[in-house]
Amino acid sequence: MNSRADPTLVLESLSDQAYPVTPSASGFYKEQCMVCFHKNGHRSGVALKVIHQGTCSTFQVYWTGDVTERMLLSAYVDHNKLVDFGACAIALLLIPKLTGYKVIQQSAIGTTIDYYLAPQDQNDDLIFNHAARLEVSGILKESETNTVEARVKRKLGRLKESRLPAYIIVVEFSQPWSEMVEK
């Protein structure tokens, strides 16, 4: 972590920090993230350990408001995807703190959205030509068969043939901790 980087992640600041994630999408990611922390008994201000380039940093994650019944019910729709969306909130807030990337590019993939990191706000048409790929995954609670390490390994395997540089961020919500790997 940059020693001057603010060690707080405020979920409400997502749409300001991660342009062009819209307020509606950032609100959605924030809610999923809150549910993931709530299901593990955590509250606003929870400490999140982040391992990146062999160093461990700690961030405090803050949000306002409580988890409602509606949020909990929505988490039943597609549990796996929703944990990934919760992880997206954390990843999109971590990126500007831990890397030089400030601009996010998006594209649709299947029924979801994937993210790319642009080095600067390019003005030409080839918007993805100098971008790094961002791969995010979430785990509600690690188990012997579902670990952060295994997820990182799986993502690295999938990116083996990718020529683009890539960042992989896996967030675990029970401890909670996150690993960020650059490819």
Partner: protein, 368 residues
């Protein structure tokens, strides 16, 4: 701002709204938003000149436009956009994603096919992935799913008739309400029809359950597992043993994301695409007879072996170093474990000495 960026940004704004709408249960709105997003994104993609220098932007935009077309159920348009993306110079990773999307779309087109002559006791099983070719499939990937489906159907009959879970022994004739049968695979993919045929013996008709209802209940259960709706599944299958049996066998039928990407089940009235990966479906949270103490988690690789079985719910595993372990199996998981007998597996669970309480089991070598 460039025209491409302007169109793409509008598309992504709408795509984000579509995503939120979909997960908020507003499916019609999600489709409308995805359609609007698709129109902007496909225009953006068309503006990028064909050529190596345009990559990966060109193929990423076509993949994105195709994904949005897929979201608004324009499967034909999505296929055309994928073809355009593939016709350029996509980098290998994007090329693979375009092909995966194409496979997914072809699969859904099969599921949407309304010309199927399925009867009320038929289920069409379709598989897509690396292990599947045109009319050919790896034997083990096929038999595993067929056997598990019929096993699920058999246990569902017993549960619907109020019988206690029977983990071993001959099933009484009165509970055999169907005869498993297969119809010949269709050309061009690997699709077969699983038939729960009516028994010839009229004495068995006394306890016959409604086949349409039975299949519908199995489909509902598979859908609940696919959606990670554990609470819903527990409501559907209140008996714990039957519940574990259902989860364990649905998990066995699930795609592994490598050899098999999708497994489809189609009946006369509905279609389910089982896309949740095998690895993402937990087998069991709390092993049976677990002592009330903190136990270390052991991972044992070895061959499952009948010979050292001590009691009905305990089986044996022998490692390469000829070390013997006993494995305590939760009721309901016997069919799953039985399917691995004589094979090399990895067993995970809390352990005490040479006793392991089964929490997970995986086949080690699937190459056959």
């Amino acid at each position: 701002m460039s025209k491409v960026r302007e169109l793409h940004d509008k598309a992504m704004e709408l795509a984000q709204l579509a995503l939120v709408a979909r997960y908020s249960g507003e499916l019609e709105r999600a489709t409308t938003l995805a359609r609007q997003a698709y129109e902007f994104e496909s225009q953006a993609a068309e503006l990028i000149p064909y050529g190596e220098a345009s990559e990966p932007t060109r193929s990423i935009l076509y993949r994105s436009a195709a994904s949005l077309a897929y979201q608004c159920h324009e499967l034909g348009l999505a296929q055309q956009l994928i073809a355009k993306g593939l016709s350029g110079y996509p980098p290998p990773a994007i090329e693979q994603e375009l092909k995966n999307l194409l496979t997914q779309i072809s699969f859904e087109r099969h599921l949407q096919n309304q010309d199927l002559a399925l009867s009320q006791s038929d289920v069409q099983l379709s598989m897509y992935g690396k292990a599947v070719g045109a009319g050919i499939v790896l034997y083990s990937e096929f038999t595993k799913r067929v056997n598990n489906f019929f096993s699920l159907a058999g246990k569902t009959v017993q549960r619907k008739l109020g019988r206690d879970f029977q983990s071993a022994g001959q099933v009484a004739r009165m509970y055999k309400s169907f005869v498993p049968a297969l119809a010949a695979p269709a050309l061009g993919s690997f699709i077969v029809i699983l038939k729960l045929a009516q028994p010839q013996d009229p004495r068995q008709l006394t306890f016959l359950v409604d086949m349409e209802q039975l299949i519908d209940e199995i489909m509902t259960g598979i859908e609940l597992v696919n959606n990670s709706d554990d609470e819903g599944l527990r409501k559907l299958i209140r008996d714990e043993t039957y519940y574990y049996h259902f989860v364990s066998l649905t998990r066995e039928m699930a795609p592994d994301g490598d050899r098999i990407n999708s497994v489809g089940f189609t009946t006369k009235s509905r279609a389910i695409n089982l896309t949740r990966f095998y690895n993402d479906i937990p087998l069991i949270a709390q092993p049976k007879d677990l002592p009330n103490q903190e136990l270390p988690i052991a991972t044992i690789a070895g061959k499952l072996d009948y010979a050292i079985a001590r009691k009905k719910s305990t089986i044996g595993i022998t490692t390469e170093e000829n070390q013997h372990y006993s494995v305590s199996v939760h009721e309901g998981l016997e069919d799953l474990v039985r399917s691995y007998f004589g094979q090399w597996v990895e067993i995970v669970g809390p352990s005490k000495g040479t006793l392991v309480y089964l929490r997970d089991i995986r086949l080690l070598d699937r190459d056959e």
